[in-house]
Symmetry: C3
Subunit: 665 residues, 3 copies
């Protein structure tokens, strides 16, 4: 198991380095990440390279048995470079240049920056490509962070036009797919095409500039592809000079880049995991699904390249992690498939925008509670490495997560309370509450391992997708569709089929009408004998073969079908025409899983923060049980289990501490 920290030797006096390396070793670390923001130190003057300090820093680490993940320094081109090539700065949708002072201030489509990237990456790769003290490469850092996926400069416009020509071949085809006849937006030539920049818009809705939704979706696809292409440039350079594995640090639920595509050429995925920072309400469930997504995008185990190790924030600080939480979060990562944990950062920075992003150590270098907790945790992990490392998560259920769908939903969200990612989370949580693991899979991904596949708000479709999911159901799978499914073409036009479009026959149902719920409206349902409610969307269903699972109990569509199921071949297809309250969705998914033959978990817990992950390695099966609440909780073991952390054994009721972890085999 790889354990370590992010470290910035360039930010600290030379005399700190040996002591720091020693403290890392004492914390049971064997890896350190460095270098990704050091361009100005590596190339202090144009063309003049200085690797001496980095050699020395790597050497200090090596002396303590710590290997290096080396980042390419492209996220922070130095000021001298930007002064020489000022058009490299990104432009925003208003055409304003986004100047110096932060990071990632470059356009990935700028030919000059591609050339400059080649030069610096090559220099670094030549120097360290064969260096055995270097364990792996990290390309750049957090692509897209700080709102840098979308640029509106002239180079992007040219690149977008090329991308569109590649995709559509003829301008007539583009006009047809986009339906540019609407509002006289027909393009006669590729050179007439635009970026979805500032346009006439309504002050009431300033972010929505009335652009053609197909244009906007393609721009989002293009922008994601441009990042993937930029990464590939660096990968290709490194592969020529090094055989070390290559990764990039992703950002979990970050919505702007298609992480399936980004991770495809990488040797392994790593990601940056902050459970409690100032921009979102902390949620261990979101973190759980993020881990599963990070495992899912490449369908293999991953690293956490930045694991939270202290309170953090930029101008304001989130709460300080409580005793036990750093250990708990580490185990959660490992449970969901992390084979490497690199804490961010070894010590808080004294300077710059991240002064308040605390590390294992505070600014004064004194090892305190957080250091000790991480030290202990890494000791445990090192000991349990033979069973934990490389173990696979066992999942009978998959949720289809698609960036194309996410982007389209972000352009037109149907209802102010609709959120694609939250809908996925709701389904994810509904299964988790039963102790069922869930894989995240791509559109047209391999569904053969799964008994149940959920396709939430799966509105973009095409014939190949229809065939993919139909074949899965016919072969015995259970597919779960929801409202909005099949409502659009792959290029974001509305289908002219009766809804759910491509999934109409499969689901055996037609959407007679729908109702978007505004101003706090709630619509009741009867599900089996229980009452439930929708608060976002209601499809009124008309069966063309399906059986009714639930009906509405409110509104003018009182009594009409809300949820149906249709037997097809050896499988079945559910259509869930509305959102559901948490309890109803949990019960419904429990019954869907049961009907699909998924066995109940032998370990269960009813506490608010109980999380159970079932794992398998070399024929051994074990369960990582976590308590994310600060209070102790009871879990039930159906059978006799060995608890691997304590070496004890347990059966029946088991008490787990607040923020506690247990591993049962």
């Amino acid at each position: 198991m790889q354990l370590g920290a992010c470290y910035y030797p360039e930010q600290w006096p030379r005399e700190f380095w040996e002591r720091d390396a020693r403290m890392m070793k004492e914390a049971n670390f064997n890896v350190v990440r460095m270098g990704e923001f050091a361009w100005a130190k590596l190339e202090p003057e144009p063309g003049l390279y200085d690797f001496a300090w980095l050699d020395e820093a790597i050497g200090c680490m090596d002396k303590e048995g710590i290997k290096v993940v080396l980042g390419t320094p492209t996220p922070t081109p130095p000021k001298w470079l930007m002064d020489r090539y000022p058009t490299i700065y990104q432009k925003d949708k208003f055409g304003r240049t986004r100047g110096f002072g932060s990071r990632r201030h470059y356009c990935v489509n700028h030919p000059d920056y591609l050339a400059l990237t080649r030069t610096i990456v090559q220099a670094v790769a030549v120097r360290y490509g064969k260096d055995e003290r270097v364990k792996a490469w990290q390309i750049d850092n957090e692509f897209g962070c700080q709102d840098t996926t979308y640029c509106y400069c002239e180079k992007c416009l040219a690149a977008f036009r090329d991308w569109l020509e590649d995709k559509y071949g003829t301008i007539e085809r583009l006009n047809e797919e986009w339906g540019t006849v609407f509002w006289s937006q027909t393009y006669r030539d590729w050179s007439e095409l635009i970026l979805p920049a500032y346009s006439v818009c309504d002050g009431a809705d300033p972010d929505y500039h009335g652009h053609n939704p197909s244009l906007v979706l393609d721009y989002k696809r293009f922008s994601s592809d441009a990042v993937v292409r930029y990464q590939q440039l660096q990968i290709d350079l490194i592969r020529e000079l090094s055989d070390k594995p290559i990764t990039h640090n992703l950002m979990g639920h970050f919505p702007e880049i298609d992480y399936y595509k980004l991770s495809e050429p990488l040797d392994f995925v790593s990601w940056d995991n902050y459970l409690d920072y100032p921009w979102d309400v902390p949620s261990y469930r979101k973190a759980a699904m993020a881990h599963d997504l990070m495992r899912g995008v490449k369908n293999q185990n991953f690293w956490v390249m930045e694991q939270q190790s202290g309170p953090c924030g930029w101008n304001v600080l989130a709460d300080t992690p409580k005793p036990g939480q750093l250990r708990l979060w580490t185990y959660q990562a490992v449970a969901h498939g992390a084979d490497g944990i690199v804490y961010f950062r070894f010590r808080a920075a004294r300077y710059g925008a991240e002064q308040y992003w605390y590390g294992i150590l505070d600014h004064d270098s004194v090892p305190r509670r957080r250091y000790r907790e991480i030290q202990t945790t890494c000791g445990e992990l090192a000991r349990l490495s033979p069973v934990l490392e490389g173990a696979r998560v066992v999942a009978d259920i998959a949720i289809v997560k698609s960036y194309d769908h996410l982007w389209s939903h972000s352009i037109q969200g149907h209802n102010r309370n609709f959120d694609y990612t939250r809908l996925l989370q709701e389904y994810y949580d509904a299964f988790s509450a039963h102790g069922f693991n869930v894989d995240l899979v791509s559109v047209k991904g391999d569904l053969s391992p799964y008994k149940v596949v959920v396709l939430p708000a799966f509105h973009l479709s095409d014939p190949s997708i229809k065939e993919w999911i139909t074949r899965y159901v016919a072969g015995g799978g259970t597919a779960v569709f929801t409202f909005r499914s099949g409502s659009r073409t792959w290029n974001n036009a509305m289908t002219d089929q009766t809804l759910p479009g491509d999934f109409r026959e499969l689901c055996g149902v037609e959407v007679e009408e729908f109702d978007s719920l505004n101003y706090g409206r709630r619509v009741g349902l009867r599900v089996n004998d229980g009452a439930a409610f929708a608060s976002v969307w209601c499809d009124v269903l008309h069966s063309i073969g399906a059986q009714t699972v639930a009906t509405y109990s409110d509104e003018y569509y009182d009594g009409e079908a809300a949820i149906t199921v249709n037997d097809v071949g050896q499988g079945r297809a559910y259509y869930i025409g509305c959102d559901l309250d948490e309890k109803a969705l949990r019960e419904l998914m429990g019954s869907v899983a049961g009907s699909a033959g998924i066995q109940a978990s032998p370990i269960s817990g009813s506490g608010e923060g109980i999380e159970i992950v079932r794992k398998r390695k070399d024929g051994r099966e074990f369960f990582v049980v976590m308590n994310h609440s600060m209070h102790e909780a009871q879990i039930s073991l159906n059978g006799l289990f060995a608890e691997l952390l304590t070496g004890s054994s347990a059966n029946g009721e088991f008490t787990i501490d607040g923020f506690g972890v247990a591993i049962f085999e």
Copy 2:
């Protein structure tokens, strides 16, 4: 009666057209609007016109007896045109170009666009000016929508300077009227004048850039006049080539264009009526006043050119209209003076920004509930056309609605909770609740038909206005003034007279001081024997002849006069020094109307959603009674009435269904 839909043949396959026309005929339609966004189809290359497709589409309609309202295609200049004349794009107050991708991306003051407009409108008018299948013309589409009234480009600056020179003649006069001596803003020459663009401002109040309020008001007047002038250009061209009637589709309460001026050269007014869309809380009362305004701006019956026919929205959707609502809304339009109803749109668009603006048909062309309801409604209307078409609304009461006043109030709103349009609505609703119809009339409009005229927050004045209203009162009319009246000159300077300025003698009252109520303050009043309260504004009044109607019961002005009435000649003038809660205002306006000799309505209803409109045609008088609530309600008939929809007769209590309509004669 004209009944129909908006239709975009260019957006649908050719083979749809005959079937669509047939379905329209079956829906009892006799009219269709088309063409207003089709420039790129009509002139696909510069100077190359293609009318063949439009001829064919018009022909398909004609075969089913459906006539066409033809829109001029100027709201959406094609991309090739904008590429050739890029300075035609509007600029916002920060000087940013508002680029391609939506619609209305042109400056009405740009000479090149005026020339281009001439060419395309002439081409269309030459082709269809005498075509008997064309029933009427629509100029452009929804002037000002999507925040396009105000442009800050160089052409606008030049045009504004000309407009000011025309208005003021000498720069000295402008300096004097505007009081530019304040803050050293004196202009020495017309070429020094500015647009009220981005300036030094306070971050706490980013929309208010501290500009001279007289400058801002004149800029708003100029911007409205510029649209009127642009429309006139098109009207003049068409009149030369066609004798069909000309309209434009207005937007009800849209505040930026003086609709009195815009409708003056039109043959009839039409407007776009959406009662439930995502940008405002649905309110049938607002719709009612909007209809009356649309009737009032030209003082004649009108069309609804876009009548809501389904759920709608751009990125998010409003609630779906419930069964009965489409019919109810149609009758409301007819009750208030609509002689034509054109539903928007025949079928929802598969492409572009309005994919979620549902029409009579969904994207799949299947006729469902909404189609059937509209079909039935139009059948009824066709049958009742002899009595309904051309009938006049009977109103003894008028509210003065002024765009100049609206604009001035929007610059300086007195109090955060003050809203001119809402104040008008409050008075409107206070009369409606008694079953009294209300006309909306212009400043210096003809008041002779009215027993009561209300001038809410009528702060801009000049000697001719003073004379106009004084003569009305002296001749026996009842005028109702409110707080802020007479406080400003016509050019937005503060009066130096004691308030209410020009209306001081008429009202027989002086404003001793005022109090703007902030932080949720409420001030009590004694009106007759009842308690009431103000929550926005209190004028403390000092009588110079008037009698006290109400006094304050709170604050240091406890006991001082709040509302007064003054007998003048054969009439009287009320001064209402504060806003009033709903109940108090309703009672007060009931008593004002009673004192003015207005008879109670023979039909009354107490339900929340009951609306009654009294109509007259050819000596017949009848009442359209509507229930905007989803629950049935009781109404009282004082006498025996025939119900025209059912052919039954009724007396005394009558039950009206939820969303129901009855017409009593």
Copy 3:
């Protein structure tokens, strides 16, 4: 005592002037401010001066015995000037020019504007420098108002680079102090330096562009210094030509300019005091602290140059001052050290942005309640002038207020609910509630007069500061530190010392960890025997010598020290590791004051709005007691006192009217 009004003769007809002067005299005025916005009248054409009208206006005043405070007209350069020198306009952080139409539309770093300033100021000073009718000079008007402190134009960039070179000497020193190695932001040369303008940022946090906090702090310092330098230019010119005293009208709590530095070269401070305007909730306590700050920045009595005299606002109006409030606010100013009161403005403007900023008179010139109240008040003040004028506030307690600290806190606020100015106010109020006066003092100011000195959130430090406060404590003083103290260097880097850094030995305490409280969290404390709570921040303390005053009663740090006190030499140092609820802070500060030997006030009152200021002059000591509530209240007099306003005497319980004032000797 100087009493008067702000007056704009240029805005009123010539025939008003004598009458206005007479009314001022009758209001007991002896001073008037004028001229500060009159550039366009004084220089109507480039180089053509017209002083005739001003001579005449000054003459009218002089005839009634009223002297003039003459403003230099630089806040409003005329349009002709801006047209000639358009680069003088400020630019915002997006590079957008902030154009004409408001005021202060100039960059203080623009060489052309400095030259133009010299010319106009010299012209005015030549004309009036020796004029005995002129009593004093006001430089410009409200530096920084309307968001004009920060400009991002090319001249500012150049000036900032010079300022940095002056400060740091070598680029290496700057790089080191700022820690530019973070994110590769190293500068090789002064010409590479930037302004903290628009950069890559996160849409979630649009104001925080991720700039280096040391850069941002220096930019704020530079911007403040630039204003000070611009003022000095004018002061130097006037001193050469006039020996009248010079002032500038400051803005109380305005945060952007270091008022210690700005007031240093002035002969006296004046400021603009509005207690009830639309941009803040009215608070007499904020006004009290603002007065004390205005006294503190120069450590001498001051004038109020604009004292609110009516309801005010720009586009919306605040509440109208109630009877008694204008008098009360005047006495509050005098109590806190005002020797001059100039009401803003004599009469409300009919034109321009401030039409709704009401004066003593309304637009119609009729003297009403407000005129009479001010007339009476000024009569009283004139009578009591011998005792009131020049009297000093007696304070045993000081709070250190530092603009450097304020700016740093505004860049990184630690916690969303942290606000430096509010924290100062909380401590201020805690002392005021006991009837203790508080001085505001500067960093390294003279602490010898004080028994207690509070340094709230005093996070920036350096060795000289450490020595300054350590010497004070050693000599017998009581210092009160709070959370965040000592956490940063003077140039905004994080200290590498264990917190509280420079104050660790002095406080005898170490911060073991901290907890920023989000999402409404509250953490309990035990202070003595009482319960209290924190809601923003908790430092967990570890004593290295200090005694514990309070411990936490919640969270994982239950039982750990929250507040400590350390005896050092003859004094003591408190460390308060968290924010405190109002009651707990009041009690704690009472006990801190008591322990430091501060005597209880002989006059006390428990009402909500009771304020007591202890004053001394020529050996006489008296107390100004004010009731800011509208209800009468009881106060207790410990001993026999003469009441100076009524000439009566009192002992024991005394009833003070709502909005009442009493002066006890």
